[in-house]
Symmetry: C2
Subunit: 322 residues, 2 copies
């Protein structure tokens, strides 16, 4: 059973109460704790050795990633993380210096975004290190950006460049907290999330929550330098680039669609806001790309337009694009 | 390095911000999110297969325990848990039915205390099941009971009976949420926590946070039925009960002091409140024992009074009581 199926089965009829504004299924849970001007956001995220980071990864970067993933979910709602609790499940032979370095990596990131670390639990997990970060924060009442507000005709935007994160970015990415709050303050963002599983998969979360479809413009999808350089190396090393790519690598487009761990923002805004948004963005964040990659359509599913026309992107597998 | 040493080293200089009222070191973190009448409480707790529950434990009880431990920390502050997020790190061969039963155990407890489960993350943890529960809740502003307010002369009370929890109670205990809130509403509770590591160890957390000592009255410490019956069985099975106990078992008193996982409340109140508190408690909670087990004294450390006099209880090891 896939993770999403299992979660949807488990979360079908969970206990709730009147504090719950948004429960399972968005980037953060949203709770009403009675503050007049704000709602509480609540999120956890875990990283596991051998799955989310290699056993020999730089410990500061492991700590950075463990916290950054959780903060990225607050960015996805244009929220502000306030405080985190860190659970470290340690193998028996855990090296105290390594653990302190992991904390140093988390602390440096936390300080940069004025997030407090308000406690640390350690427990034993024979065999491998697991770090779970729980975070609470807030968003102005009525201003948390959900996944469910995309409308046909909306333009779809993505920050940064996609694909190839496992070549390095996944351990050092910056959660787009500042950018997301700026977006929500200056424009009506209809739906937003942070890309963790890859554009092709994550876009479907917005589509199903909003009951719409999407058409992506293949040539517009921003492909990361890491992916482009890897593709160039393959071309220069071989007279048969297509063969090499089909044999052992994704095409650059497929990498951008499916590699995952981009931690960039994907959002939908009314088409009429596209040009003013791009202009204002360039003035505010000149170093970070913002790209219109397609639009929301009535119907369902992801469709990709390229010079051969429009084709549906299958939910599982990317036959046409590999 | 022991868990407490490691945590104290890691939490020595954590990032903080102006929302933090109480950070690492109490039962829950306490945060000010701007609600006029209440503060936010925040806590995580993890249970690991083979450490906190046996691989063949009843799955509903595993779920119950995973959530109840976290809720018990809210009881320790006389707070109210509102919403939880559940992280399940699953071995590769995880049985979906077992996971659903674990969720059923959590959900039943959550419903009883009107706690919402607002999300579930699953990830992979080859080799063993790990469940981490993160919870947010609240306490009336200025009314969360900390560990740091005990004063010389205060009476020390404990709910229920202690020891032998691993014989069954640890999988089915009730967090003392109702009792704790009642206590804080009707009396000035100077310091409180929930007993997870055993009376002898946990009492020291109140003492060091409050910079005081304590004298326990050995004959008053309420020893659980499970411990008393186990001791009786050993006496009836052997003509040399002392020998048998010294050889393979703790004495009942030592079990009550050190077994851990009691999840009862330990608290300090002004001595003058002792009698009215006991009277009111009996009327309100006739089925749950409340026992005065000693008093707070100036100085430091735990001292135990029995018919031989007063002896210090060593921080590590209980030579005199085993």
């Amino acid at each position: 059973m896939k993770e999403f199926e299992l979660i949807s089965r488990l979360t079908r009829s969970l206990p709730t109460n009147k504090s719950v504004v948004v429960g399972a299924g968005d980037d953060c849970a949203v709770l009403d704790f009675g503050a007049p001007d704000r709602l509480v956001l609540f999120k956890t995220d875990a990283v596991v050795e051998g799955i989310h980071f290699a056993p020999d990864a730089n410990p500061e970067q492991i700590g950075h990633k463990a916290l950054a993933r959780c903060l990225s979910d607050f960015a996805a709602m244009a929220g502000t993380p306030t405080a985190v609790l860190v659970t470290m499940a340690l193998p028996e032979d855990a090296d105290v210096q390594k653990i302190e370095k992991i904390y140093a990596g988390m602390s440096a990131l936390a300080r940069r975004f004025e997030v407090a670390i308000v406690g640390g639990e350690t427990t034993t997990n024979p065999g491998r290190l697991l770090i779970s970060v729980a975070a609470v924060g807030h968003a102005p009442r009525g201003k948390a950006v959900l996944r469910s507000g995309a409308e046909p005709g909306d333009a779809l935007f993505v920050t940064g460049e996609l694909g190839g994160s496992l070549m390095g970015k996944h351990l050092e990415f910056e959660p787009r907290l500042v950018e997301a709050r700026w977006l929500a303050q200056h424009f009506s963002i209809h739906a937003m999330l942070d890309l963790s599983d890859g554009l092709a998969g994550d876009l479907r979360h917005i589509l199903s929550a909003s009951r719409v479809g999407a058409e992506l413009m293949a040539p517009s999808i921003p492909i990361s330098r890491a992916v482009r350089e890897a593709a160039r190396r393959r071309v220069s090393q071989s007279g048969e680039p297509q063969f090499v790519q089909a044999e052992s690598h994704k095409t650059p487009l497929l990498a951008a669609l499916s590699d995952g761990e981009d931690y960039e923002l994907l959002f939908a805004v009314a088409a009429r806001d596209s040009v003013p948004l791009l202009d204002a963005w360039k003035a505010e964040f000149p170093k970070l790309a913002l790209t219109c990659i397609g639009r929301i359509i009535a119907g369902e599913g992801v469709h990709v337009r390229d010079k051969q026309g429009v084709r549906p992107l299958a939910a599982h597998g990317y036959e046409h694009f590999s």
